[in-house]
């Protein structure tokens, strides 16, 4: 049996913040097998980056342990099996893009040819430019190329597309697909549901330091991607609205009602059939943050009590 690419057991980390102790990551268990492409999805502050820092050995967990390929993270890193693009960070100056990639590649046992990394990330045109003369989007692409040129078994990317422009993003995901097809294990953190949905085989949902869901993108999308209908509708009781077909929950704020929907198409038909007076209707995908609040709200309330 081959060792899992990533194995996290009971990973826990707290920080002392200005408002007391912040429990950034709480008993996270996660196993990622070879060749999987996994999205770590969650809003800002969910503990994604802290989890990644621990799984790479940059941060010691308070409790629990992380292993990569059955070894402590530092050993896997020292063996050159990981390629990483951290969320923050820029490039050192006074080297050309090509030289920087060559320097990084020289540290690895079996790197990709620099020329191939340049092509894969679409940065051949800027290969001879000095790193301090790059735009923000170009810098991100070079950082991605740095992770790729290591030719890793496991690629870890923390919010890789945050500083990229639209074109950069598209090129980025095209490359990622290509890599996944070569059998690499990929773990990427994101707070975009669409990215997780479109590019991962599996989505691990994090909120408040916990893994709150772990499944196929379609399952996760059904959980957090629910749409909501907002309308001005004085009168009907919340209890009646919640009974409508396709509606899972209803709220009232003065004259405005908000319906969380499992199926917004059926819900809107049912709403208008029953209450033709409804006006100012909006249907929107729930923001990820809101969806998370819904998923984790009960738990937080318990904890606060």
């Amino acid at each position: 049996m081959t060792d899992a690419s990533i194995d996290l057991q009971g990973l826990t980390k707290s920080f002392r913040g200005p408002h007391g102790v912040v429990r950034a990551v709480r008993e996270v268990d996660l196993t990622v097998g070879p060749g999987e492409t996994v999205a770590l999805l969650g809003p800002n502050g969910a503990g994604k980056s802290t989890t990644i820092d621990m799984l790479l050995g940059l941060l010691e967990p308070d409790e629990g342990r992380a292993t990569l390929f059955g070894k402590p993270p530092r050993e896997a890193v020292a063996a050159g099996r990981t390629g990483v693009m951290l969320q923050t960070g820029s490039l050192i100056r006074d080297l050309s893009v090509r030289e920087l990639l060559d320097m990084v590649a020289s540290l690895y046992p079996v790197p990709l040819p620099v020329a191939e990394a340049l092509v894969l990330t679409g940065i051949e045109e800027i290969a001879d430019r000095r790193t301090q003369k790059l735009s923000g989007g170009e810098t991100q692409r070079v950082r991605f190329a740095m992770a790729l040129v290591t030719n890793p078994d496991l690629l870890v990317l923390d919010e890789p597309t945050v500083a990229m422009d639209v074109e950069g993003r598209r090129a980025f995901w095209t490359t990622m697909r290509e890599l996944a097809s070569r059998g690499k294990t990929v773990l990427f953190a994101t707070h975009y549901l669409e990215e997780a949905d479109a590019y991962a085989d599996r989505v691990v949902l994090m909120a408040h330091g916990n893994v709150v869901a772990d499944g196929a993108p379609t399952e996760i999308k059904a959980m957090v991607g629910a749409r909501r209908i907002r309308a001005t509708l004085p009168g009907p009781a919340v209890g009646d609205l919640a009974q409508l077909e396709g509606v899972t929950r209803a709220e009232r704020h003065g004259e405005t009602v908000v319906l969380a929907c499992a199926d917004s198409d059926r819900a809107i038909r049912a709403l208008l059939a029953r209450y033709p007076a409804a006006r100012d209707i909006e249907i929107a995908g729930a923001a990820l943050e809101e969806a998370f609040l819904e998923l984790t709200g009960a738990e937080d309330a318990k904890e606060a009590a």
Binding site: L56, G57, L58, L59, V77, A78, A79, G80, T82, V84, L86, T88, G89, S90, L91, I92, R93, D94, L95, E99, L100, D102, M103, V104, S106, L107, Y108, P109, M146, T150
Partner: protein, 245 residues
């Protein structure tokens, strides 16, 4: 993996940084000509029996090399501020190879400083026997070891906005108390303080060129203690330094 490419690129980066080159190499040179050139015919500076061009050359070699080696700290702090240190931790580069490259690069900058100042000294009439040049140079290079460790230590402790004043202040203080700018009296509290500093012994190393005897047992001991302490602290600072800066 030999890390040869890595070291080569570190050197390339360092010497490509125009501002660094101008200040690290240009500053001691300009200072030397400013002080020594007007007095170039003074053959007996302050009744020491040493010519002005030679006296200021060895002083500035001590100052310039110390400055060059310590400035490795400024480059490290700058790299940390863009997250490069964290990125390097995620490569197979070992801590040992990292330190070796940093020290080697620092020495390369010191060596260029030495060559430039020697050339300037010769241009102003300094003449030494080949034995004197060699003995002076070798002892200076040995005397830079604790400074290399100090530079790395400061680079990992300080942030890029505090490293400038911290390094500048440290260099100025060490130079002043170590007798770079004027000779330290050979007794009293000042002398005792000076003798406990690595800069004093670096100056003594440079003064091999003016007929000095180099280091006795105390000199070697002080340098060894500074090197050991700075190395231990630098290793510890490096190990701890995995957070986001």
């Amino acid at each position: 993996m030999s890390y040869l490419d890595y070291t080569r690129y570190e050197l390339l980066r360092t010497f490509r940084n125009r501002r660094f080159v101008v200040f690290a190499f240009g500053f001691p040179l300009v200072l030397y000509f400013a002080i020594a050139a007007p007095n170039r015919h003074e053959t007996d500076l302050g009744n020491t029996g040493i010519s002005a061009p030679l006296y200021f050359m060895v002083g500035l070699v001590a100052f310039g090399t110390m400055n060059a080696v310590l400035s490795a700290g400024a480059r490290i702090a700058a790299e940390r501020s863009v997250g490069w240190n964290r990125q390097l931790r995620l490569t197979p580069l070992s801590a040992r190879a990292y330190f070796r490259t940093k020290v080697l690069t620092a020495y390369a900058t010191a060596f260029v400083t030495i060559v430039l100042l020697y050339a300037a000294g010769i241009a102003l009439g300094v003449r030494l026997s080949s034995g004197e040049w060699v003995r002076m140079t070798v002892l200076i290079l040995v005397g830079l070891v604790p400074f290399a460790a100090l530079g790395v230590l400061m680079g990992h402790l300080l942030t890029s906005d505090s490293v400038g004043p911290a390094l500048g202040g440290t260099t100025a203080l060490l130079a002043f108390l170590g007798g770079v700018w004027f000779p330290i009296s050979d007794h009293g509290a000042m002398h005792a303080i000076a003798q406990s500093l690595p800069s004093f012994w670096l100056v003594q190393a440079a003064h091999v060129g003016t007929g000095g005897s180099g280091w006795g047992g105390l000199g070697w001991l002080v340098m060894a203690v500074w090197t050991a302490a700075a190395t231990v602290l630098a290793r510890r600072a490096y190990r701890r330094d995995t957070g986001r800066v």
